[in-house]
Symmetry: C2
Subunit: 258 residues, 2 copies
């Protein structure tokens, strides 16, 4: 008699509209977290308590197009059925669109080699009622040249502690930004940032700084000096959460089972 | 001494996200109508009770990019200031982006010569968390050829009573569709309908019928026969409201005060 069922490691890829949620990570004082809703749905599906690991702890109001989570289960539901089975158990703002069985050592957060965030800015004269949940409304003129100059300064491997939320306790603040693109798409400006990891509030602090550079309140040289000196106070403010979206999490090519 | 202040006729153009609202028109049992919110904001701005006329009575959950309203006021606020002044008095889902002074005989509804609605269908495999408030999620395959054939049948001047909500009491059910376009835009299908006027639920009934045609449940010939016979029951269902949006209302060129 086989007493221990085989325990599979399942990886899910999901999108969510983070408006109205208190962020990804489970919290004691609210049920409105993405993790809570997911674990609840997975619990109802498997009839077991499920604890999952998320790749990125998106903040309150931040969205995702490609968040990744993993969890262990002995449930025998075929892997391709998970997204359909979860559809009716999750609120409409959370959509799991991919499920894969992965090797037992796969961990959504620790196995990740790169993450990509986008930040959307709506720079028309009036806010768009269809985009305002997902964009920062910023009607002012922005000078593109100094913004692009600043991107060149930020690209690559640097100590980004000047872009970390003040008081955050991470020891190693060196990160590598492998892609940093600023695009104009009609009334939208979109910043895409790909890095091996991010400090707390790093993208939103980069965006707030770029907006100040675009307004002429900071020069690219001042940004460089503040980065070298590690001075958070010499940079721009933390941009609000609604423009931010976790677009993709990347893993080594060999992580998929099979 | 001048006792009667000059009474101006003001035309506003506005966009709204109709999710969570009970439609445009004021109702006794709810404060969640666009008209109520607008009249309340205008009342606070002018310190007078304002009654406005809307061009289109959009239903619960239906959106607008170019709804038009008008009202009379003796307030002396310069016309170009109205959109800015209303911004802080309206919920974020309602954005007034244009104000004009118009001749006293202008009426948002009766002066209109054409209205354009769009209906957005999201036909990817999974719903989009960023578009689901504004699109109908419809993951099935649609045959485009019979849909386009049906558009040709509907274009022009016809008695559209087969496309009106059952029980609606309008006497004249003849309308002229001057433009009817079906477009594929990535994962989206967008129907654009321009007509001199619309019967109640007419666009949503056209969409429900086109979806059935695209699925092969109705042929273009059957649609034509049902239209000629005026048989609502022989056509497709009423498509849900969230995909619908009042895009534009047109007026004769001489309506602007000059």
């Amino acid at each position: 008699m086989k007493l221990v069922k085989e325990c599979r490691n399942i990886k899910l890829t999901l999108a969510y509209d983070g408006t109205g949620y208190s962020g990804f990570q489970r919290q004691l004082n609210t049920k409105m977290t993405i993790q809570e809703k997911l674990e609840e749905a997975l619990g109802r599906l498997t009839k077991k308590e499920i604890t999952l690991h998320g790749a990125g702890r998106t903040d309150a109001g931040v969205h995702a197009l490609g968040q990744v989570v993993n969890f262990r289960t002995s449930a025998s539901i075929p892997v391709e059925r998970w997204p359909y089975a979860l559809r009716g158990l999750l609120p409409p703002e959370i959509v799991v669109y991919k499920a894969e069985e992965v090797p037992k050592e796969f961990h959504a957060r620790y196995t990740a080699v790169a993450k990509t965030y986008i930040y959307r800015i709506w720079s028309a004269r009036w806010p768009s009622v269809f985009h305002q949940r997902y964009t920062l409304f910023y009607p002012g003129e922005l000078q593109e040249d100094p913004i692009r100059e600043t991107l060149e300064i930020l690209k690559g491997t640097h100590d980004f502690r000047a872009f970390a939320a003040q008081g955050s306790a991470v020891r190693n603040t060196v990160r590598t930004i492998s892609a940093l693109v600023w695009e104009e798409k009609g009334d939208e400006r979109v910043l895409t940032v790909r890095a091996d990891g991010f400090l707390y509030h790093m993208v939103r602090n980069i965006v707030g700084t770029l907006l100040w550079v675009g307004e002429g309140r900071l020069t690219p040289e001042q940004v460089q000096a503040a980065m070298v000196a590690g001075q958070r106070k010499d940079l721009g403010p933390t941009a609000p959460p609604m423009g931010l979206c976790l677009k993709e999490v990347e893993y080594p090519p060999n992580h998929a089972k099979g």
